[in-house]
Amino acid sequence: MLTVIFGLIGILILGVFLLLFRVQSLVTILRDTDERGGLSNRINGALMLLVPLIGFIVAVYHYPIAAKHFLPEASSIHGKETDSLFWITLTVITLMFLITNAGLFWFAFKYQYKAGRKVVFFADDHKLELIWTAVPAVIMTVLVLYGALVWNRAMMQEPPKDVQVVEVMGKQFAWQVRYPGKDGKLGKYDFRLTNDATGNEFGIDFEDKNSEDDFIPREIHIPVNKPVLLKIRARDVLHSVFMPHFRVKMDAVPGMPTQFMFTPTKTTTDMRSQLGNPNFNYELACTEVCGKGHFAMRYLIVVDDEPDYKKWLAEQKPFLEEKPEFKGKGMKSLRKKNVAANEEIKTKKDI
């Protein structure tokens, strides 16, 4: 049904256009005038003023409606700083946008063709050019300095000793998270130990003592107002850790671990009451195209206050407790296995 309607509308529009076209080309030929500044020029001139003006009014009217769905204020320390930089920059560029576009369209309208208008032969003016080289340069300098300051604070801090480490691993098409357990140290891993069939999705090296208390939860829990260090990696293709509410983003790269440190400032409960939305959840998404399920790599993040977080931690069981068969298995045993396999191949060949 819809197709038919669309089709009909299309044909109708096409018909109208064709008709209009034939009529107007005939008229043009009859008139046989190709003068500058005719009616068309005046109409286009008027539109040069009208269209941007209407556009501006519509945009101003629509903005508050659209802005309702912007993300809430950042829930992290660096996020608040990037947010203020963002809104300052946006104000500056909106002004630039409005001033330059206003000039462009106003001049287009005002200086539309009029017979006998005296055009100013104005080919050069060093002072003017100096001004509009210098002004953007100064604005850019300020924004660069401000940006560098915010960036350095967000990205170039040494993690404190008591930082909460969380390992986030991307794979097609889900996130997996590992916590270091009581010792605060993540065990080693190697991609050659990864084995979905046996259940070692992370490729954890269980010969490393640090891995013995590592646990793999089903959602991320982090304590409020404490720095969290995300150790990020991917095991198949590129992924990207994106936590929109915390203004956190960092690619997950196979073979090259990355990291991102941030400090959450609002618990999930706080956000729920602040937004009046009892179903609110912090989310983790993927922002580097990774294949079919790229759009569905959702993972939940819960920001707890200190007691809740402690309670949650206490409930978590080390991975080895659930899968004791992995105990002590790691790179060495893998190597032994490989050596044995190679030997076997060799002997077969020899025979």
Binding site: F21, N41, H69, A108, R235, K249, P254, G255
Partner: protein, 634 residues
């Protein structure tokens, strides 16, 4: 016009007559040599244009299909099955993998085939010889090869659409490991192989063309046409060709290494990968290395598509404002500045890839410097309009539209170029909005402006003005309606290349805005039918074009209505002045209206000459007598 050709030396005239004579003897071109394997730059330009436009419609149609998915996720696409076949699944929805394929192909086609080949290929080919006063490109044969390599690249890319596993699907940036592993996405199998072969051919085409453009501009300018008198179009094409020549080989290297990784087991870009239940043997490669190589072309590529559009705009705005372009030297200077800077900003695409954060700061600094020459250009366009006498031809409308889009898309570059802000906005719809305005739409507008402006010279007939006006306003309004609201979606954190936003709580808003954008995109795309009709109709039925329909100063308008091979039947005109003598004071006393073409000597315009121009008369007269290439030395 022939009246004005007397600035020519007897020697030169004799020579060109000979040349012309030769042509009549050797160029009894058959149909194939004239229209298919032609070495005439004008025919080659038209071939680039027509193939580019065909790709543009295909790329546009692809965007309509994935916009349907994004804006109307519940809409049944069963009716597309005759075209898309198994890309539509049993429930009448677009396959998720094929959504990615469409996005990838849309990007590749638009960036390379439409805006590089279709824009730069068309107008560099068409205008360089005509505006520098040459009979053809330096090497007509290489020029012909350039088109046919593009054609081959097109055939390979087009064929890849019909592969069972689908075309490349890892995004137009083809980041490995996704693009290297068929296990990761089916499009990375044969589809990616085709993509790489096609791009390799395309790079060859691009280099063959670029070398020709550069050589022609440097060596084959007519007498009197110093660099300081080059139309800004030629400056733009010249710089574009240099940028392309320096950056495309790097993409070629990246593609080659990726081919090695894919089929010969090397590990340039791959390491530590477990996929499909298996740990791969690759170790020690760096996925980030590929991104560095890719963006070393990828960023200059932005200017490869944009500079020609800006050059075209400069020419059209000056002509139709009946006023010299403001700040000619600043325009050239800023183009050179943009060209140089374009090579040292690439890593702003990689702020959050895990690259050293200190590098991020350096690249932010360099990136934001580009805003300065860009701003100078925008201000100069606006000042050119000031106190002009503007004629709104369709080309002029598209040029003014370009300036607006260039500003609108450019200012958001200041946001994204700031690494602290890029943390949040990277790979969201804010980026999509930004580059579609500043690079996609602006360059597309430049291409449309060029087509409307030079159509009379290409085909000897006029396109219909009124249809052009409607086409412009629908497109202009449409483009803003599509891409302006996209910024909001980006601020709300929506990531790009998402098949659907319903998985996430934060992605549940804006269903209506996405629907609106899709509707606007469909209308904008449909409006291009007006152009297609106008274009095809006017080639055969358009009004015959006058010799100089826009009262323009540049040399191409001194050729016959439909110039033959060799461009000028008689001698090549000599250039005596810059191309922007529009509305020169007192020109009427010399018998001119509001324009004095480039080939008019100053001796003919004693009343309107400026003082330093009067000084040049003696020199020009002197040269006439000596009749050699002295003009190149001053």
């Amino acid at each position: 016009m022939e009246l004005h050709n007397h600035g020519q030396s007897a020697v030169a005239e004799a020579h060109t007559h000979d040349h012309h004579h030769d042509e009549h003897e050797h160029h009894e071109d058959g149909f194939i040599r004239k229209y298919i394997f032609s070495e005439d730059h004008k025919t080659i330009a038209k071939q680039f244009l027509i193939l580019g436009l065909m790709w543009a419609f295909m790329g546009g149609a692809m965007s309509v299909i994935f916009r349907l998915q994004l804006g109307f996720p519940d809409f049944n696409l069963e009716w597309l099955r005759p075209i898309l076949g198994t890309w539509i699944n049993e429930t009448g929805k677009l396959e998720q993998e094929k959504y990615l394929a469409l996005v990838t192909m849309h990007g590749t086609i638009m960036v390379f085939f439409v805006l590089t080949a279709g824009l730069s290929g068309t107008f560099s080919n068409f205008l360089i010889p005509l505006q520098v006063g040459a009979r053809d490109m330096a090497s007509g044969f290489m020029n012909m090869l350039s088109f046919w390599f593009f054609f081959l690249a097109s055939v390979v890319m087009f064929t890849s659409l019909f592969l069972e596993t689908g075309p490349a699907s890892g995004g137009w940036v083809i980041y490995p490991p996704l693009s290297a592993l068929p296990e990761a996405v089916p499009g990375s199998g044969a589809g990616m192989t085709y993509w790489l072969i096609s791009m390799a051919l395309f790079i060859v085409s691009s280099l063959l063309g670029g070398i020709n453009y550069i050589t022609t501009v440097i060596n084959m300018r007519t007498k009197g046409l110093s660099f300081a008198r080059l139309p800004l179009t030629i400056w733009a094409f010249f710089l574009t060709a240099i940028i392309g020549l320096l950056s495309f080989p790097v993409l070629f290297a990246a593609a080659l290494l990726l081919i090695f990784d894919r089929s010969m087991g090397t590990s340039f870009f791959l390491s530590d990968i477990y996929i499909g239940g298996k740990a791969l043997h690759h170790q020690g490669g760096s996925a980030i290395l590929f991104q560095h190589l890719f963006w070393f072309l990828g960023h200059p590529e932005v200017y490869i598509v944009l500079l020609p559009a800006l050059g075209i705009t400069s020419e059209i705005i000056a002509t139709n404002a009946r006023k010299p372009i403001f700040g000619y030297r600043a325009m050239v200077g800023s183009m050179i500045g943009i060209g140089v800077l374009s090579f040292i900003v690439w890593a702003h695409h990689m702020f959050v890839t895990g690259m050293n954060p200190f590098l991020g700061t350096i690249f932010m600094l360099l990136t934001l410097i580009i805003a300065v020459p860009s701003a100078v250009k925008a201000f100069n366009y606006i000042t050119t309009l000031w106190k002009g006498n503007i004629i709104f031809t369709p080309a002029m409308l598209f040029s003014i539209g370009l300036v607006s889009l260039f500003i609108s898309g450019g200012v958001t570059g200041i946001v994204l170029g700031n690494n602290a802000l890029d943390i949040q906005l990277h790979d969201t719809y804010f980026v999509v909005a930004h580059f579609h305005l500043v690079m996609g739409s602006a360059s597309f507008f430049g291409m449309m402006a060029g087509v409307y402006h030079w159509f009379p010279k290409m085909f000897g007939r006029m396109m219909d003005d009124k249809l052009g006006y409607v086409h412009f306003w629908l497109t202009f309004i449409g483009v803003y309606l599509v891409f302006f609201p996209m910024h909001y979606i980006g601020i709300a954190g929506f990531p790009r290349r998402y098949y659907s936003f319903s998985t996430f709580d934060f992605g549940k808003s804006y269903a209506d805005l996405n629907m609106f954008i899709s509707a606007a995109a469909i209308i904008t795309f449909s409006a291009q039918a007006l152009f297609a009709f106008n274009f095809v109709y006017s080639i055969f039925r358009g009004r015959l074009a006058p010799l100089n329909p826009w009262d323009s100063n540049t040399l191409e308008w001194t050729t016959p209505r439909v110039p033959g091979h060799g461009n000028w039947p008689g001698a090549i005109p000599t250039v005596h002045r810059w191309p922007y003598d529009y509305s020169k004071p007192d020109a009427d006393k010399d018998g001119f209206t509001d324009f004095i073409p480039q080939h008019i000597p100053f001796s003919q315009t004693p009343n309107s000459n400026f003082e330093h121009e009067n000084d040049l008369i003696a020199k020009q007269e002197g040269k006439k007598n000596s009749g050699d290439n002295e003009h190149k030395h001053h």
